[in-house]
């Protein structure tokens, strides 16, 4: 089986300091990678470098395309969830899902179904009235909008109650069986089955 993503010799230097050096890993379908490091160790920078938000100093990032070739560009959407969840207070729960680029061309029913799966029923409330846990659920509902091959999630388990943690763990396993992979970051190893990289 070919990996969906190959990261080779990746190095990043910022302000004359090496943030990470010579990172190598492959992301196979259905497998997870967890990047462990303390605050400010460059976990977010790594995700951004892989996704092309910043130019790394060294190394290559290669993506598998439909014809089983490795390219330096991506041909499919990946899911990215940064530190901030990108939830707009002045939009309703439904609009927060519907008006994102990933929901382009999706039917309303599909979006209702996603919200149902994460247990959000108050879909016409403004997001400003929601609790922290419920906001997190909106962001999780976004995972389900499409079949993404790789999910890049920055600290999925920070500041979560037990119920939401369970939900995420269950979803990750579910999506893994469908062949999706997760690249996650965290301060300490999580319960999820993943190969771990320390930076």
């Amino acid at each position: 089986m070919l990996p969906n993503l190959k990261v080779e010799n990746l190095s990043c230097v910022r302000s004359e300091k090496a943030i990470f050096e010579n990172l190598n890993f492959d992301v196979f379908p259905g497998q997870n990678i967890e990047i462990i490091g303390s605050n400010g160790s460059g976990k977010t920078t790594l995700l951004r470098a892989i996704l092309g938000l910043i130019r790394p100093e060294n190394g290559t990032i290669r993506w598998l395309d439909d014809d089983n070739n490795f390219n330096e560009y991506r041909t499919y959407d990946c899911f990215y969830q940064g530190h901030q969840l990108g939830i707009k207070n002045l939009l309703t729960v439904f609009e927060n899902l519907n008006l994102t680029h990933n929901a382009k061309g999706l039917k309303k029913e599909k979006i209702y179904k996603c919200l149902e799966r994460v247990g959000l029923s108050n879909i016409n409330d403004l997001a400003s009235s929601l609790s922290v846990g419920q906001r997190k659920r909106i962001s999780i509902a976004r995972w389900l909008l499409k079949d993404f091959k790789i999910y890049f999630i920055d600290e999925p388990f920070s500041a979560l109650d037990d119920e939401a943690t369970n939900l995420i763990e269950r979803l990750i396993i579910e999506l893994n069986t469908e062949g999706c992979s997760f690249v996650m970051t965290g301060h300490r190893p999580s319960q999820v089955n993943a190969s771990r990289i320390e930076i």
């Binding site: 938000l53 041909t75 901030q84 994102t100």
Partner: protein, 224 residues
Amino acid sequence: MSNSIFGWLTIILRRDLLIAFRRSATYITPLIFFLIVVTFFPLALGPQESLLSSLAPGVIWIATLLASLLAVESIFSEDFRDGTLDNFFISLEPSFVLVFAKVLIHWLITGLPIMAASIIAAIVLYLPFDSFLPILLSLILGTSFMSLLGALGAALSLGKSAILSAIIVLPFSIPTLLMGTSVITSSINSQDYFGFLMIMGAMLAIGIPLLCLLTVEALLLNYD
């Protein structure tokens, strides 16, 4: 493919316009600011009709530039702070379209209200009725160019003081100011003003691709 770009454009437009309408301050503040600045000129210079009508083109344009700069900072700052911008760049959609949509929204919530208010300003500054059309035409072109420039300024000064983006943008807005006032002045003197409009249009036509691309580059800078 063009269909999908259009779909993305409408998603951003719908999202940002919804947010703008639910927070009415975004489109009312530039409008009020414009009217206040216009009001200050008669108060400072005295109410003589001849003086005011001869100064009116400049007054309208200075007020326009300042008012459209007022909302510049908000073009990208919220999306940058809450991480939406990251997602836009990571998606496979062209980031050029994103910047274009953002500029369009800024124009819709500042440029359009200002154009409406400019007619009030023209009336209270004793401008002749014939000059209303040239005022509107020059404002359409000028405010959209200001929105483009403002987006670049906002991208370069993201997370910094709003006064910085004003200092960046204002020297570059001088051609707009000069051409805009020239359009109105020529129309009052019943001279041909079409040439000035064409130059403003040409600036806009070159500005859209050039400034949008440079704004993308400037936005990516904030992730480094």
